[in-house]
């Protein structure tokens, strides 16, 4: 089948898509956007989190066909040109990135949290990110990064 989807503001078309393919597969393997990660492909780790019509979703759980005509923003769409989003900047600056495999999903989830709750408490950050597994960091620096990003966004 053919799937039409808007990705990071651009209209994209994927041909010869199999019925069983996920949005994650289409993004990664057909549209050349491997930023969203394939860690479990079972909806358990959050590494593949993207915005789907403005709401964070696990791209591995979305069938490609379900994405038809919808609006997707991936980690590749968070920065504006060379300018990183404050969330991205803070993750680098605060050492919240180690292997970085969890990072794209966490960035989308954290970006969404700060959009909804500009000044989140620690408990709110923990709740919002509880669906994103990270095996490297122990999360402490991720918390630092989210706090920092919220502060930065408040100033901008």
């Amino acid at each position: 089948m053919r799937v039409n989807v808007t990705v990071n503001g651009e209209h994209r078309r994927a041909d010869n898509v199999w019925e069983g393919e996920s949005l994650l597969y289409v993004l990664r393997e057909r549209l050349g956007l491997p930023g969203s990660k394939n860690a479990c492909e079972q909806g358990e780790c959050g590494s593949c989190t993207v915005y789907l019509d403005g709401v964070p979703a696990c791209a591995c759980l979305v069938a490609a066909g379900q994405a038809e005509g919808r609006d997707v923003v991936t980690v590749e769409g968070l920065a504006e040109g060379d300018e990183l989003d404050p969330v991205q900047e803070s993750f680098v600056e605060r050492g919240a990135v180690q292997c970085g495999f969890c990072t794209p999903g966490l960035l989308v989830a954290a970006h969404d949290l700060i959009e909804r709750v500009p000044d989140p408490s620690d408990v709110e950050i923990r709740e919002a990110l509880a669906g994103n597994l990270c095996r490297c960091t122990g999360y402490e620096k991720i918390l630092d990064a989210v706090r920092d990003a919220a502060a930065k966004k408040a100033v901008r």
């Binding site: 199999w18 069983g20 393919e21 990664r28 393997e29 050349g32 956007l33 491997p34 930023g35 969203s36 990660k37 394939n38 860690a39 479990c40 492909e41 079972q42 358990e44 780790c45 590494s47 991936t74 980690v75 590749e76 968070l78 920065a79 990183l84 991205q88 900047e89 993750f91 680098v92 600056e93 050492g95 990135v97 180690q98 292997c99 970085g100 495999f101 969890c102 990072t103 794209p104 960035l107 408990v123 950050i125 923990r126 709740e127 990110l129 509880a130 669906g131 994103n132 597994l133 990270c134 095996r135 490297c136 960091t137 122990g138 999360y139 402490e140 620096k141 991720i142 918390l143």
Partner: protein
């Protein structure tokens, strides 16, 4: 054929900062932009997808294997079995006992039987179902203790079911003491659960060889094993590291390396393999489960008199790192304590359980949980404060460990315990509590009525680098040249960046040694000498040492070119500067359009094998030490545990990158927490019951408490820059600290980790 379109980038990003500072990762920006190419992101025009057929049985004979129907499927380009392995169908890290593809006997559930390559991963998955395998199913061997002693069991390997037995005898092994405590401790099978799946892309080359782009911990050991199975000379099997999504030991053994290369060579097309999570659980080795019998004897005033222990490590189907686990487990068996008398025995065995191998804290995690449980038991028998008992028995510089080796470097164990004890405790809970902070969180069904708090300690000793006589070394090539009018250096090693920050560190060392601002890191590959493994907390030490040596050789070549004596000269800010501060030359001018390139190795001082009978010998090059204090809340009615705070003090010798050191300690502690309260691969009759992230639980951000980290720097005079390996100790000491805190809260014995709700409620 050309390199894959998505290949790992050279890390040009300029970061500032030398040794002892905390510059940002050079790969950080790529990673947050989603542009960093991990091994599962590789892509090549015209590439095929590889897939693996695995045994559903833990123990079986293969009676018939027929791939013809699979091969006839449209879109399938090759289906290969053990008969197609071009070279030797056997590999292994320590012993050569693992077939690339099973020939007649299957020894674990998930063992690879056949591989195929197809146009689409779904075609590949479907085609696997068309492969016909008839099995004669056999009774699995699953009890490691029996496997060690019962010679009537079937032999899984020609030499039997014993991989290694090691005894250690110190002082009077039959010594007696006033106060004696004993216990039997068990530890479940933990998984590395790195997030990036096993994956890579094999590209056939015009010379009949193959280029493999992959995620691994040790390029050269993969190259050696893969080339042997492919029947190719080393130089025709070239490996390049792509982005690695975590490793923790789980990438030391081969997974898709031989398979993807076989398929690429057979089809003449690039072949990508990427395991899904289910397959990943079968595709890599796990942490050895263990059963340990311990007895401690002490004087009335709390001095250890003896330790006697027997420990059994379940190595599963193949040896992998089991010999090392037995070596580490026994040599580290009494912990960071001065013990005059000991009798220790360790067994590592083959069974039909999943293969176990390297995981962070290798061989030290198991005994630490046991002896730290014993230390608390002893403290309570002596009516002593648990931290005080540890301080009284702490090892220090000049102590003799259980193998007779003298600790000839700082060993501030007592100070670490003292420091972690002195950190402020979280406030005692008072009044109405936020339900989200109670054990079980928002899904809790009580309001904290039955919640009790406990505090516990865990302290560990871990050997750094490879041991027992191995010549453990690394190689670095450093090139100095002028780019854009500025002197810049490029560091090239085969050392694997697996997330720990080695790329940052290599830049830091080169900047400091060469007095430059711009340093880049070449992608790691096998076109430079061996760097050894990114494991055993050794890369900063060994590859750090190699980069230092290569940089110093480059500096000497600079002085030689100038014709000045190296004595008193240094490189600062792109200039050659004499002892009196006078600028002798400008590097950029001196080099012009030439380059200086030097390659150097670093070998750490030698270690020696253990005496097979007494286990005596200078087996280890260095030890790392860490201490944790855990504070837990336990809901006695529901059996739920909330770790409220987890603090750590660790000696790192020299904090080369202080922020990265803290990050390692936090991440390692999270894995230790996981083992304490949730992480276990459940194996029944040799079969894995929870191979998914739904059922194998790793800590989330809700499970990790705030952490205070106290970093000590007591330089090791034998190590480059005084460094001491950092990565493993925190994983090891966190687990017993939490277990001891839960015991303190509940008064229960809790002789097994992970501690589950039913262990607490008793139902």
């Amino acid at each position: 054929m050309s390199a894959p379109a998505r290949s790992p980038q050279e890390l040009h990003d300029t970061i500032a900062g030398g040794i002892g500072e905390s510059p940002l990762r050079p790969d950080g920006t790529l990673k947050v932009r989603g542009e960093f190419a991990y091994s599962s992101d590789l892509w090549h025009e015209d590439m095929l997808w590889g897939a693996t057929l695995r045994s559903p049985h833990p123990h079986a004979r293969i009676v018939r294997l027929d791939v013809s129907r699979a091969l006839a499927q449209p879109g399938v380009h090759a289906v290969l079995t053990h008969e197609d392995v071009p070279g030797e169908n056997v590999y292994g890290l320590k012993y050569q006992d693992t077939p690339a593809l099973a020939a007649d006997l299957v020894r674990y559930q998930g063992e690879p039987i056949a591989i195929l390559a197809a146009d689409h991963p779904e075609i590949a998955r479907q085609a696997l179902k068309e492969i016909v395998v008839e099995y004669d199913v056999l009774e699995p061997i699953t009890d490691p203790e029996r496997a060690a002693h019962d010679d009537t069991l079937p032999k899984l390997h020609p030499d039997g079911n014993l991989v290694r037995h090691q005894r250690i005898v110190k002082g009077d092994p039959a010594a007696t003491a006033d106060v004696v405590v004993s216990g039997v401790y068990e530890i479940g099978m933990q998984d590395q659960a790195f997030l990036g799946p096993e994956s890579g892309l094999a590209v056939p080359a015009e010379d009949g060889g193959v280029d493999l782009y992959l995620a691994t911990q040790w390029l050269h050991v993969d190259q050696r094993q893969t080339a042997k199975a492919l029947g190719l000379p080393l130089e025709k099997v070239r490996l390049t590291l792509s982005g690695v999504g975590g490793a923790f030991g789980g990438r030391e053994d081969l997974s898709m390396q031989i398979h993807s290369c076989m398929l690429a060579l057979r089809t003449g097309r690039p072949v990508k393999m990427s395991y899904n999570r289910l397959e990943s659980f079968f595709g890599h080795v796990h942490r050895h489960p263990a059963k340990m019998y311990y007895e401690h004897g002490a004087t009335r005033d709390g001095k250890l008199v003896y330790v006697r222990a027997r420990m059994y490590f379940d190595g599963g189907a193949y040896a992998s790192k089991t010999p090392v686990v037995v070596g580490n487990g026994t040599t580290l068996s009494v912990g960071p304590y001065d013990v005059p008398n000991a009798h220790i025995e360790g067994w590592g065995v083959y069974t039909n359980n999943p293969t176990c191998g390297a995981m962070r804290g290798l061989g030290a995690v198991q005994p630490t949980y046991a002896y730290e449980s014993q230390m608390d038991k002893l403290a309570s028998a002596l009516d002593l404060d648990p931290a005080e008992l540890r301080i009284r028995n702490a090892l220090s510089e000049g102590s003799t460990v259980v193998t007779g080796q003298v600790v000839d470097f700082p060993a501030p164990v007592a100070e670490l315990v003292q420091r972690v004890r002195d950190l402020p405790l979280p406030p005692e809970p008072a009044g109405e509590r936020d339900i989200r902070e109670l054990p079980g969180g928002a899904s809790n069904t009580t309001h904290g009525e039955g919640v009790v708090r406990g505090v516990g300690y865990g302290v560990t000793i871990k050997n750094i680098s490879y041991a027992e006589g191995l010549d453990d070394y690394s190689t670095a090539r450093v090139r100095l040249e002028v780019l854009g009018g500025e002197a810049v250096a490029m560091v090239h090693t085969a050392a694997a960046e697996v997330g720990q920050g080695l790329v940052t560190l290599q830049q830091q060392i080169a900047r400091t040694e060469l007095g430059l601002t711009r340093v880049s890191v070449h992608p790691a590959d096998t076109s430079v000498g061996d760097a050894g493994s990114s494991s055993a907390s050794r890369q900063t030490y060994v590859t750090g040492g190699a980069v230092r040596n290569a940089c110093r050789a480059v500096a000497e070549a600079v002085y030689a070119r100038l014709g000045v004596p190296a004595e008193g000269m240094s490189l600062v800010g792109g200039k050659v500067v004499a002892a009196d501060g006078e600028v002798v030359a400008d590097l950029a001018e001196l080099l012009g359009d030439t380059a200086i390139e030097e390659t150097r190795e670093f070998h750490h001082r030698p270690t020696y094998p253990l005496d097979p009978e007494t286990g005596q010998g200078d087996a280890h090059v260095q030890y790392g030490f860490s201490a944790h204090r855990a504070v837990v809340d336990v809901d006695l009615d529901l059996g739920l545990v909330k770790v409220v705070q987890l603090d750590c003090a660790q000696d790192v010798g020299k904090a080369m990158n202080p922020d990265a050191v803290v990050a390692q300690i936090q991440g390692g502690s999270a894995q230790g927490l996981g083992l304490a309260v949730m992480e276990e691969i459940l194996v029944k009759d040799g079969k894995v019951r929870n191979p998914s992230f739904t059922d194998y639980l790793i800590p989330t951000i809700l499970d990790m408490p705030p952490m205070r980290v106290d970093v000590l720097e007591r330089p090791d005079p034998h190590a480059p820059y005084g460094v001491r390996g950092v990565g493993e100790p925190p994983t090891i000491s966190a687990t017993p600290a939490i277990a001891n805190a839960i015991r303190a809260a509940t008064g229960l014995e809790l002789p097994r980790v992970p501690i589950r709700p039913e262990h607490i409620t008793g139902v």
